[in-house]
Subunit: 200 residues, 2 copies
């Protein structure tokens, strides 16, 4: 295969993902189907079915495409600052198009579809947890966090708290919430000081 | 008014809420509507509309009825044990009928209905957060937790982590998760020892 068809294939994939996201934003998840995406993109349904087994799989790929660049934590050597920055930077993505409403709709759909929930976790949430874990594990190796704590679950707590607030709370993911969350994390695992005036 | 009609009113309310929950369990949230509830209960639609403005409001009341008794934390004087017990006791309720599937469906529906999300938070999640806060605030007054920490947000973190695992993770709310969560909380706010071997 020469480079030409490969490039055309990549361009077509990118176009299909963009059309999917546009359509999802316009009509919502409930109104979305592969026929409508095919019609809008000017391709046959089978072109899509050859690549994606379901509407959900196609939509998750479309979300991934606009999202992945946002997932990497900075590493300035100050884990508290880097967590804060990342959480505050993620918050608008969750509440605004193109990601926010579509992602929320997929999460809703996943509540009655265990296979989609698994794919969603594998494709998105596990990635978010992993990148959080990677950042705090680096901080642990750098001596910013206590040496012998297992940080897998704390990474999930950090992500889970933000998702809870986004999906189920009426309060925003704002500076106050992010500061409180990072304070709690550092109080538990920071190698230095802790919250409050207890006899630590 | 004599006691007789008041008792009849309470019995009819209880019956309507039970019918609602039964029907929700059978047909799912998507298949549920006030006409179907009225038909099953043998009452007119207006009997229901007089009391509940929407299907969601009726269903939230039905969920509340089977649920409220489970929400109170024990107070044995050992906050770590009481949190563990409560979290492990809540987990099966979230995964099994009558509460689990119906509650999950309401949460899904709330993702595309901001008013329902607000009602859901006010009626359920705020209550869960509050009862968690009450228990840890008592522990703080008893000297089990550091004196000057604001425990509002930590109560949300405890609840949010469990909801995240229930709604978005593929892992169960098991002893390992609950222990890790309570360990993190106590490491941050316990008046005694902390996680790890840091220079605390």
């Amino acid at each position: 295969m020469t480079d030409q068809p490969r490039r055309r294939g990549a361009a077509r994939t990118a176009e299909l993902l963009q059309v999917t996201l546009d359509l999802a934003t316009e009509v919502g998840y409930a109104g979305l189907n592969i026929e409508a995406v095919a019609r809008r993109a000017g391709v046959g349904k089978h072109t899509i079915y050859r690549r994606w087994p379901s509407m959900a799989a196609l939509l998750l790929d479309a979300l991934s495409r606009v999202w992945t660049t946002d997932l990497d934590y900075h590493d300035t050597g100050d884990v508290r600052a880097d967590l804060r920055e990342q959480f505050l930077r993620s918050a608008p993505a969750l509440s605004q198009p193109p990601i926010g409403p579509v992602y929320r709709a997929v999460i809703a759909e996943a509540q009655s579809d265990a296979a989609l929930r698994e794919t969603l976790h594998e494709r998105f949430l596990a990635t978010v947890e992993q990148s959080t874990f990677d950042r705090i594990a680096r901080a642990q190796r750098a001596g910013e966090l206590v040496a012998d704590a297992d940080l897998r679950f704390p990474a999930e707590v950090l992500c889970g708290t933000l998702y809870y607030r986004w999906l189920l709370s009426t309060k925003p993911i704002d500076e106050e919430a992010v500061n409180s969350l990072v304070d709690m994390f550092m109080a538990a695992y920071g190698a230095g000081s802790r919250v409050g005036s207890g006899p630590a």
